[in-house]
Amino acid sequence: MLFKSRQAVSQLAAALADNDNAVLEGRSLWQDARRRFFHNKAAVVSLFIIGLIILFALGGSQFAQYSYEEIDWLALSDPVSLGRPSIETGHYFGTDKLGRDLYARTVQGSQISLLVGILSSLVAILIGTLYGAASGFIGGRVDSFMMRIVEILSAMPFMFFVIMLMVMFGRQIILIFVAIGAVSWLDMARIVRGQTLSLKNKEFIEAANACGVSQWRILVRHIVPNVLGIVLVYASLMIPGMIVFESFISFLGLGVQEPQTSWGALINEGVATMEIALWQLLFPLTFLVVTLFCFNFVGDGLRDALDPKER
């Protein structure tokens, strides 16, 4: 840290000495953050792997020899191989216990898991950010009322919401997760509110007020962009949380509807047969764990990049 800043000072001195370059170009917060993020090798590699997994989910079915719902009776009835992974049969990841191609099912499961994770996080973050920013910005009675609502909602067991939603929406997993997103914005709202409270009294907001900028515009143009760093960090940690949550619901047998599947549903099926057909557990498990790892590293990288204390 010290070394870096000393280097910066010497660079500055050199630049100042060089008369042609007397005008120094300023760096914005985001440029700074990007530079720091790309210095973090673990985060960059993780981002790359996440990209690969998304590509796999989108285009992986091109390479599948079977569809994800089609039963391969030959593999199912073969007592020697038990549907083990092999290149010759075209079942790269083997088959599941019903003789369906596990590769095609993993591709399908990745689509559902990623879609559900990203979609519900987006909903939660949108609501949470706006709610928190509004609550902190308006302040006073409205603020304490809005925060009381958050407190009541967070005292309700989360599973209760989820089960209620499941009962109401049936088994439409995407709808359920949009709804889950709509009830899991509470932490986000708290964090954003705290940030907004500390931003509200800063000079630049005062300046905007003095210039006669409308309250709504101050909120959207000045407050929200400044809490975006924290929101981004939180989002990168929320997506894996949601993926785990979907897997958990599917693990309980309440999630996606057959023949569709997700990582959690595949893991659940794999667990049932892990004593004799370990690959049925290992392939989906690897995808889930690698994805979670990568999102966590990216989240850490973002936090280090955007944390003002690190500068």
């Binding site: 209760f160 089960i163 009962v167 109401m168 309980l252 892990m274 889930l288 979670l292 790892f293 966590n296």
Partner: protein
């Protein structure tokens, strides 16, 4: 301090009222009924059953009756398991969940803080990296993955421990559920402790203590420990209830019969009183432990005084 505690308790009352009301309404709005079976039922019988459980009364009256019983500590009869009251079902489940949760928490706090401190004191060395890798693994592996892997290793391959069951909380039945719950907690606490201790060690009062020539051990445990614990305590507050009331995955996978299982089954079977019972119980505990966190905070953070 006392007035703060009283104020906190009074604040909880309206919250609890709204909480019960909202969950009562939601449960009522959900389609389906506990008595609808595939075979169907003569309308007269259904009317009788509805009358027995007060389901024929207006909604608001039902709520008030429920609330009145609740104040006397009566969660009502189970709609699904005839001849059982919710009290009969809930308390044994809570004992199971709380036992698992207590051990998991105890283990997590001790080892998590120890790991976090070790990592922070050896920052950017091999010790730090290996501890943090283990912690990352603990965070990434969800309970529903941990549980089967543990069973595969310790029950199926090594045959050391039973794969499930409760058996009145005999020690060997406790080990796997506790490990499955605690891994994630240890990892989280270790990470939070590490970050917090690093930040504390960089602050001015630690530098002052060092400049005074105090021994290192003394600085860590006398000066740095309390401020280091602040983020850990605020993490533990909300987590506490979740851990004590157990995890659905553990109950389902190990068949321990904790509260989580009742909750999921209750909601699926439309056992209104069961779901309400669990919701109220968890809500009360959540609010209670949030208040406890605030009070603990006041003790260890010199900046907060009530």
């Amino acid at each position: 301090m006392l007035s703060f505690i009283i104020k906190r308790a009074l604040e909880a009352i309206p919250t609890m009222l709204v909480l019960t009301f909202v969950s009562f309404m939601l449960m009522y709005l959900a389609p389906g009924s506990p008595f609808l079976t595939e075979k169907g039922m003569p309308p007269e019988v259904l009317a009788n059953i509805n009358a027995k459980y007060n389901l024929d009364k207006p909604l608001l009256e039902q709520y008030i009756i429920y609330l009145g019983n609740l104040l006397q500590g009566d969660f009502g009869p189970s709609f699904r398991y005839l001849d059982f009251s919710i009290n009969d079902l809930l308390w044994p489940g809570l004992v199971v969940s709380a036992t698992i949760g207590m051990w998991a928490l105890l283990f997590a706090v001790i080892s998590g803080i120890a790991m976090g401190m070790m990592a922070a004191l050896n920052r950017n060395k091999t010790t730090d990296y290996s501890i943090m890798t283990i912690a990352m693994l603990g965070i990434v592996l969800p309970t529903f993955v941990m549980a089967p892997l543990l069973v595969l290793l310790f029950s199926i391959k090594l045959r050391w421990l039973p794969a499930g069951g409760w058996n009145d909380g005999a020690a060997q039945y406790l080990v796997l559920p506790v490990i499955a719950v605690t891994t994630h907690l240890v990892a989280q606490i270790a990470r939070i402790t590490r970050g917090s201790l690093i930040e504390v060690l960089n602050s001015n009062f630690i530098r002052t203590a060092q400049a005074k020539g105090l021994p290192f051990r003394y600085i860590i445990f006398k000066h740095a420990f309390k401020p280091m614990m602040l983020p850990v305590v605020s993490y533990l507050g909300p987590v506490f209830v979740g851990v004590l009331t157990g995890s659905v995955v553990i109950d389902v996978y190990f068949g321990t019969g904790g509260i989580g299982q009742h909750f999921v089954n209750g909601a699926i079977n439309r056992d209104y009183s069961m779901v309400m019972g669990v919701t109220v119980l968890l809500g009360v505990m959540y609010i209670f432990f949030n208040a406890v966190t605030d009070i603990v905070y006041a003790f260890i953070d010199p900046k907060i005084r009530y």
